[in-house]
Symmetry: C2
DNA sequence: CCCAATAAGTGCAATGACTACGCTTTTGTA
DNA sequence: TACAAAAGCGTAGTCATTGCACTTATTGGG
C-alpha cells in the first residue's frame, strides 16, 4: 500500500483535466480579456464539455484561482501563534505581506505580471479575490476575541478583523505594498493599542 | 415657463411607471423572497414589459433601492463642513448614523422591519447596498486628504475612507448600532489621532 | 479474470438576468 | 398640424449555470 501519493490513474486524469481547464482559461483570458471569453470557449480549448468544466470549478471566476483552501487556518494561526511581543495588527500585516510575497515568487514567469493585471482590471475577478479573504472575517474575529479574552461578538475585535482584511486589497493596488501596508496598519496599530494595550 | 416642477404629463407617467415597478417588486420580494421572484414576475405585476423594466432600473437589485444620488456629495460635505473641534472619524460616524436614522423614520411602516431583514438576508441585496457606499471611497479619500493637506494618494487617508465605509455595514448588523459604531470608530479615532493630531 | 460499484465525462434542455433591434404609441413643441 | 423625442413593446438572442439521463473508464473484490 502506497503511503505517499495514493494516486491512481483516475485521480491523475482528474487532476490533469482540471489543470487543462485552468491553463486554457488563463491563456484565453490573458489573450482576449475575461469578458470576451465564454465558458464554452474554455471548455472547447481544454477539449471537455461545459458540464465537465462546472464539475471541476464552482464558477467562471474560480478558473483563475487555484484552490487556496487553508487560508482561514493560516489567518487564525497568524494571530494565535504570533511571536511574543508582536501585536495582533502587526502579526496580521506580516501575514498578509507574506502571502503576497509567496505569490510573487512566480514573478519570474513573465505571465505573472499579466495575471495580476488581469485580476485587478476585471471587476468580477477583483471581487472574487476579495471575497476569498473577507469570507474568513468571522473566524478571524473569533480568534482575535479569544486571544484577548473578549466575548465572541466583541465589536472592536470584529472591526479589527474586518479592517485588516480590507487593508489587504487597499494596499495591493499600491506601487509599494510594503510601505502602504505600514501606513494602513499603523492606523490600526495605534487604534487597537488604545483599547487593548499589550496585544 | 414653470420654474418649480417642470413636470409634464410625460414625466409624470414615467415616474408613475417607475413607482409601480418599485412597489410591485418590494411587495413580491417581501412575500416570496428575492430569489423566488423573477424580473418577469415584477414586470407583469406592474403591467409593463421586461424591456421597460430595464429602461427604468439598471438591474434586479436596483428595484429595491430608490435613487440615492447625492450620497457622495453628502459624504464629502460631512468631512469638509464638519463643526470645528470634531475629528474626521467622529464626523463620519455621525453622518453614517444619521443616514441610517433617516431611513428608520419610515419605521412606523411595519413593512420597514421586513424590508431591512430582506436586504440583510439576501446576499445580492446586501452586496448591492454595500457597494452603494464603497463606490464613493475614492471621492471620500480625496476629500479627507485635501482637508488635512495630504497628497491625493495618501495611504492613511485612503485607509480611513475605506475603514469608515466598511464600518457602516459592520455596525449595521448589530442589535445596537449606535454602541457598535462607538466602538468601531473609537479604533479609527485613536489610530487617526496618532498620525493626524487635531483632525 | 470478470463483475459490479463508483466516478468522470457527455449532450441536451432549461432557467434567469440582461441586451439588441425594430416597431408602435404617446407627448412635447415648432 | 406635423415632426422628433421619448416611452413602451415583443422577439430573439447571449451567457453563466443547473438538472437529467446517459455512456465510458477505473477500481476493488470475489
Amino acid at each position: 500500500m502506497r503511503v505517499t501519493e495514493p494516486t491512481g490513474r483516475r485521480e491523475r486524469k482528474k487532476a490533469q483535466t482540471r489543470q487543462s481547464l485552468a491553463d486554457a482559461a488563463l491563456e484565453l483570458f490573458l489573450d482576449r480579456g475575461y469578458d470576451q471569453v465564454g465558458v464554452k470557449d474554455v471548455a472547447d480549448a481544454a477539449d471537455v464539455s461545459v458540464t465537465t468544466l462546472f464539475k471541476h470549478f464552482s464558477g467562471k471566476e474560480a478558473l483563475v484561482f487555484d484552490q487556496d483552501d487553508d487560508l482561514e487556518a493560516e489567518l487564525v494561526a497568524a494571530v494565535r501563534e504570533r511571536p511574543p511581543g508582536r501585536s495582533i495588527p502587526q502579526a496580521l500585516r506580516e501575514h498578509l505581506l507574506l502571502k503576497q510575497a509567496q505569490l510573487a515568487i512566480h514573478a519570474t514567469d513573465p505571465r505573472f505580471a499579466d495575471f495580476t493585471r488581469l485580476v485587478e482590471e476585471t471587476p468580477a475577478l477583483r471581487d472574487y479575490a476579495h471575497r476569498m479573504w473577507t469570507r474568513h472575517e468571522a473566524a478571524l474575529a473569533k480568534a482575535i476575541a479569544e486571544t484577548v479574552g473578549a466575548p465572541d461578538d466583541d465589536v472592536s475585535c470584529a472591526a479589527l478583523a474586518r479592517f485588516a482584511l480590507e487593508a489587504r486589497s487597499l494596499v495591493l493596488r499600491h506601487a509599494d505594498p510594503r510601505r502602504a501596508a505600514d501606513e494602513a496598519f499603523a492606523l490600526l496599530e495605534h487604534g487597537w493599542a488604545a483599547s487593548h494595550p499589550g496585544n
